[in-house]
Structures are given as structure tokens and as C-alpha cells.
């Protein structure tokens, strides 16, 4: 199972729809300070993890919606989708491609869907748990977070290993 593409629209500084396609190997993301690189990481966390808004550098759930500027109105909704290749059937679902999507309306709630079928957040988290993307998302190291692992208590490091068990 590997990640084929990520699409964002209306999420933080990604006011316009942006699609990134991936292949196995190392994809390196570069760009000036403040251009939106870490916002991509926030989009992945927002879609795939159970973290609260502070996990995406937001105070409230609505903060992830594009805020607008003098030249452009704020977004009415935001949407993030990830599509995985499931040729190896590593996820027990009868599709060769798995799409996970989350959409949030301004002032409203989020809706999740898997391959176009509306599901609960829990369904998405359970699907991902099978793939090795654990609940605590240890596979995602946010900016400035590399040293947190060492500052953690011995008990927290144990739970990181328990999750890998």
C-alpha cells in the first residue's frame, strides 16, 4: 500500500485546489518561509489523525478554513483527500484504490468518506490502523517536534513501542 496523491482545497493557505501525486521513494518539499509547506503536514494530520485542533496549529476546528484576504473572500468549505494504491490488498477492502476524504463547511461539521461512501471518523481511523499509520501518528514528525521524543517520559516512549507492536 502506498500513497498515490493528496488533494487540498480551501485548507489554510491552499485556497485553490492543489494536487500532489506521489511515487515510492523520497519526495522533497522546498519553498520560502511562510509559503505553505507545513500546512501540507497539517492537512495530512487533519485528515488521518485523531489529534485535536492544536495538533494542526489551530485554536478551533474552524481555523483550518482559508481565512481570505483583501483580494479574496474566505473559503466557505475546505476538503482534503488522500488516495492510496491498494494493489497488494494490504487493506482489507475490495478496491485497488482507496480514497479517504474529509470536508468541513464553515460554521458546520466535518463529513468523512471512503471511496465516496460517507462514513464516521472512527471508520477512517480503523482503516488506517490496519496499515501501520498508528493512532499517535509517529510516522509524521512536525516542524520543531524532533526533539520532543527525547523530552518524553520513559512511559510515553513505551507507548510508542506498544503502538508498533
Amino acid at each position: 500500500m502506498h500513497l498515490k496523491r493528496i488533494t487540498m482545497k480551501g485548507f489554510k493557505s491552499f485556497a485553490d485546489r492543489v494536487e500532489m501525486t506521489f511515487e515510492p521513494g523520497v519526495a522533497v518539499v522546498v519553498g520560502p518561509n511562510g509559503s505553505g509547506k507545513s500546512n501540507i503536514v497539517d492537512a495530512i494530520m487533519w485528515l488521518m489523525s485523531s489529534a485535536p485542533p492544536s495538533g494542526m496549529r489551530a485554536e478551533t476546528g474552524q481555523d483550518v478554513l482559508y481565512l481570505g484576504s483583501a483580494a479574496r473572500p474566505a473559503a466557505g468549505y475546505c476538503e482534503v483527500e488522500a488516495v492510496f494504491d491498494n494493489e497488494d490488498q494490504s487493506v482489507d477492502i475490495p478496491y485497488t484504490e482507496v480514497s479517504i476524504k474529509r470536508r468541513l463547511e464553515r460554521g458546520g461539521d466535518s463529513t468523512y468518506s471512503i471511496n465516496g461512501n460517507v462514513v464516521r471518523r472512527l471508520d477512517v481511523l480503523e482503516l488506517l490502523a490496519d496499515t501501520g499509520i498508528g493512532k499517535d501518528m509517529h510516522s509524521i514528525i512536525g516542524q520543531g517536534k524532533i526533539d520532543r521524543l527525547l523530552a518524553a517520559k520513559p512511559h510515553d516512549r513505551r507507548s510508542a513501542i506498544e503502538e508498533a507492536a
Binding site: P24, G25, V26, A27, V29, V30, S35, G132, G134
Partner: protein, 187 residues
């Protein structure tokens, strides 16, 4: 559950020791199970008269995991003696050890090598390169050496004062840097 933890712990420990050997030439490190954190535990005396610790609700607390690293020629032990760059390297060794014990379809690393000097950036990239075939990595960076390690480069920009992000993908120029070609032959 305990049996599975022990087995995974042993695997993570092995990978961690190998990671430290690669990142700290001449140094060594390991993971140890240590007595549980004494917060919220009570000392009770068991039937056999021996002292035991248990959680306030009667459970036996699990031991925690301690990281021990000794760079070559330096005093052993406490993590707080390490420098900023040395701490990043130890954290990376621990992460890659977790990755190996329980692979994930993809990994995201956001400026994890910001505190490293040139030589250690190359060691980090060599570690990354060793896993290139078995996983996908999304690596955000300002370091030129890391850009050279890319299979594909994404440029994120905002048009002049627009406040709106766009992304452009491009193949890196054919010359993956000499460091990796050398590594590839070894691997």
C-alpha cells in the same frame, strides 16, 4: 500483549543500536526498560513480605523505556548533556528504529535536520537512503544537501503577496549527488 511488547521492544532495540552506530561513529547506544515512573504508585508489601510497586488501582505499572547514548570519547548517560544536533540524531535513530519495527506506508519529516552540521546531514540522508526502497518519504527542508537526495522535488510558493499557496513538481536534475551514488554501490 506483554509477549508482543517484549518481542517488538527487542526489535526496536536492535534497530536503535544499529542506528546509533551509523550516526555516531565510534559511539554506542541502547534502550533499557526501567522501573516505572513513581508518580501515582504506592509501595505495598506483598504476601511474601517483599516490597512491590503498584498503581493506586492495584495494577502493576509497566516499566518505561530509557534511552542511553554514549558518543565516542564523551561522558556516558544523561540525554541532557547532549548538544542540540546530537539530540536530533538520537531522536532520528529512535524514529527509524520504530519505523523498521512497524513499517508505515509513508513518513513525513518536517525540517528534522535543521540542527545538524554538514557531516551529520549526510549521515541522516544515508539512513534515509537505506529505507528509500521500502517506504515513501515526504521530507520538508531548506538544506541543499537534502534537496539533492530527492527522487522528486516539489516547490511550494505564494505568488507575490497573494497569501495563496501553489505547488509545482519537478524532477531533480539527473545528478543525484555523488554521496548517494557511492552509498548505492555499497548497499
Amino acid at each position: 500483549l506483554i509477549a508482543r511488547f517484549d518481542e517488538t521492544f527487542a526489535k526496536v532495540k536492535d534497530h536503535f543500536e544499529a542506528g546509533i552506530a551509523a550516526l555516531f561513529p565510534g559511539g554506542h547506544g541502547t534502550l533499557k526498560l526501567v522501573a516505572p515512573d513513581m508518580l501515582g504508585v504506592e509501595q505495598v508489601v506483598g504476601e511474601d513480605g517483599a516490597e512491590q510497586v503498584q498503581l493506586a488501582d492495584g495494577e502493576q505499572p509497566d516499566p518505561g523505556v530509557e534511552i542511553v547514548v554514549k558518543p565516542a570519547g564523551k561522558p556516558a548517560g544523561r540525554l541532557n548533556l547532549l548538544s542540540g544536533g546530537e539530540k536530533s540524531l538520537v531522536a532520528l535513530a529512535f524514529l527509524f528504529a520504530l519505523f523498521l519495527a512497524r513499517p508505515s506506508p509513508f513518513y513525513v519529516l518536517d525540517e528534522v535536520e535543521a540542527a545538524l552540521d554538514d557531516a551529520n546531514i549526510v549521515r541522516f540522508l544515508t539512513l534515509l537512503n537505506a529505507h528509500r526502497g521500502s517506504a515513501q518519504f515526504l521530507v520538508i527542508t531548506h538544506q541543499v544537501r537534502t534537496m539533492e537526495a530527492a527522487d522528486v522535488l516539489y516547490g511550494v510558493t505564494m505568488a507575490q503577496n497573494s497569501g495563496v499557496s501553489t505547488v509545482v513538481a519537478r524532477r531533480p536534475s539527473g545528478k543525484r549527488s555523488a554521496i548517494f551514488a557511492q552509498y548505492q554501490q555499497k548497499a
